[in-house]
Assembly symmetry: C2
């Protein structure tokens, strides 16, 4: 078990009508003027934004609004948020939406008190504690950004998509009402389930030996996703299934599922390049395609770990051949993603042998995660390895 530090200060309000407490909880914590940050039309049309405006007004909290966050949130809108926060002396940022909105809000909260442009932090990873407090009303369980220390922002001008990690940008308040997720379309629900499952895989497969307390907790979340995913897809308004998935999504990326381990994160790096190459690819769908390919490529480094995973998560009975058990676990993973309606090949995402080579030429030079150095810890990958994994995923 490796040394670690861990902190997760988010105060969660979970359950029916959680968002009705937005105003009082923010006012209790001294908020006087919030930036209400959101995405497209759904939060407006559902009446959610109006309920939140009402809750804030009743608590005497003033509001500045900034909508229009897109998937893969972009730095230009973040800068506009920073400008609004400075101009109006905003003291909290309130995100209403999914991971993209929360990540955009995190970037605004980092940029608002700073003397330098916010991209500086994404470029240099410089740590700061001077960050506006963030609250979240979550509408899409997937990214886990409602409690995580991470945010990912795109910079179209530079053709980059990069992350910033800082414990001080973990949201201080998160309102999680499972009913807000009843209307999520099946594909988005499934992509979210895939993303959260992959947050666990990235933490489970690394170069550290067994860490039973962390591994068992991680596996318990995988099992929960496996059991609840079919329920939530078959019955989208099943409150309990939605509630279990919403809370699981938070736990998958808040950090406990990886403490004491090195973690890997190579596949997330490969996927960020893929969805930067073709922005129509949803992150969860890209992961569903790439993770089984990565697993097959790296499996030899520690097949027993894959066999253990297969036994615990998919109930596979050991055959006595660890290599075969490991491959069965990978097959089960691919089948699980397929059962959710996810693509499991790049072909299904529209790539061909020719366009894949173009994609690889585009992706490898910008594989930001490592600047050309081997990356990942279960089995460190070279650029050639990365190309091989993309080809295996076709």
């Amino acid at each position: 078990m490796e040394n670690f530090e861990f902190v997760s200060p988010t105060h969660f309000v979970f359950g029916h009508d959680a968002e009705a407490q937005v105003g009082t909880k923010l006012a209790e914590r001294g908020a006087t003027r919030v930036l209400l940050h959101y995405g497209g039309k759904s939060a407006q049309e559902s009446g959610l934004l109006d309920r939140i405006r009402e809750s804030l007004a009743q608590a005497g909290v003033a509001v500045v609004e900034l909508g229009g966050v897109r998937p893969n949130p972009e730095i230009t809108l973040v800068r506009e948020g920073v400008r609004l926060c400075k101009e109006h002396q905003v003291d909290w940022v309130l995100a209403v939406g999914g991971g993209s909105v929360v990540d955009s809000a995190k970037a605004i909260a980092v940029g608002a008190p700073a003397d330098v442009d916010v991209w500086h932090f994404y470029e240099t990873k410089e740590q700061t504690d001077d960050i506006l407090p963030i609250a979240v009303v979550l509408t899409i369980p997937a990214a886990g950004s409602e409690a995580s220390k991470n945010a990912v922002v795109s910079n179209d001008e530079l053709g980059m998509k990069t992350g910033y990690a800082n414990n001080a940008q973990r949201p201080k308040l998160a309102f999680l009402n499972p009913e807000l997720t009843f209307t999520l379309p099946p594909f988005q629900t499934a992509a979210g389930l895939t993303d959260m499952f992959c947050h666990l895989l990235e933490r489970f497969f690394d170069d550290v030996g067994a860490v039973p307390v962390t591994d068992n907790l991680n596996l318990s979340l995988m099992k929960t996703i496996r059991a609840e995913a079919p329920r939530v897809l078959a019955d989208p308004e099943n409150y309990d299934a939605r509630a279990n998935i919403m809370w699981t999504g938070m736990l998958c990326h808040q950090g406990l599922a990886g403490v004491g381990r090195h973690e890997d994160w190579a596949t997330h790096g490969l996927e960020h390049e893929l969805s930067a190459f073709d922005t129509s690819i949803t992150h969860g769908a890209g992961l569903a395609v790439l993770f089984p390919a990565w697993m097959e490529f790296v499996c030899d480094a520690n097949p027993a770990r894959f066999a253990f995973y297969g036994r615990e998560v998919f109930g596979l009975v050991p055959t006595g051949d660890v290599q075969a058990d490991a491959l069965s676990a990978i097959d089960e993973t691919r089948a699980f993603f397929a059962s959710l309606g996810m693509p499991v090949t790049l072909t299904e995402l529209g790539l061909t042998e020719e366009t894949l080579e173009e994609a690889i030429d585009f992706m490898l030079p910008t594989l930001r995660i490592n600047k050309g150095e081997p990356f990942g810890s279960f089995k460190p990958l070279t650029m050639e390895d990365a190309a091989a994994i993309y080809r295996m995923a076709l």
Copy 2:
């Protein structure tokens, strides 16, 4: 899944030499003068206190000291701590020890800023946010007080032992170095393992249906204790076993293992009376005796829940007879506690048929948990039920 709020703001520093960071971490957070609070001789003789004094001195943090915390910490010493904090304008309380020291530190931190005597909060359960920040260097994994919202304090004058729960008294910093637990005697190690296991049982058995995310997480911790307990008892200086147990002990009582459930806590109530009647009884040992008896008494309310627990934690194969499976799970629980070297009958704790009746006459009128009302949620217990459970435990 019931509505809930949850927050666990503790910043953990975990691993080898964690306590060497006490001074810098406290100074970073603005501490200028701490109350260094501890128990008996072991922290002094091991050199731990000297290392902590050195770390604080190097960071320029002034120290006021108060040792002498006893098991079942008492309000008189708490009041002395409050007086010292007021007199010396202490701004942090630093506990070095196990659950008793941390609980005493929590009570001091509550009392120090208050205009009323600290017992007021234990008596009325009145909530306050005006609490000194608390840091912990943990030496005994058991109570989970290093991250929990709870503290239990005795008042010898009133013949009472009672708890106070407040999220604002959760420690802000916790230093967990598994090496500090290498010298714990086997009985104390085993009593700690029992206490943490019972913190999970109290959360698992209640009147709420399945909450898969919480239940699976809870069960994963039970399995970790079951697997690591023999390792740590056979090989007390096994760093990884001690590390897994130390982190598990925190997770068992920090709250995640019960969110969305009502929880029960009847058995803890019964045990607090027992160890108040005979103060030589260790809390973990009292729980090892009373929990299986409670299980047998309440099992009929939902035998399927016990059968599920037996399957998951002890690997019991279902027989088709849920009642029989439930009883097997209870037998396994008792056998597990016995395997740790814990007593499993009141007889082993020195009670006889006659002295037990005296004990019951002493305990029932003061069963503080409920003031005579039925208590617990899996199956609400009357005073007669409580007496029956004590008698079953003989």
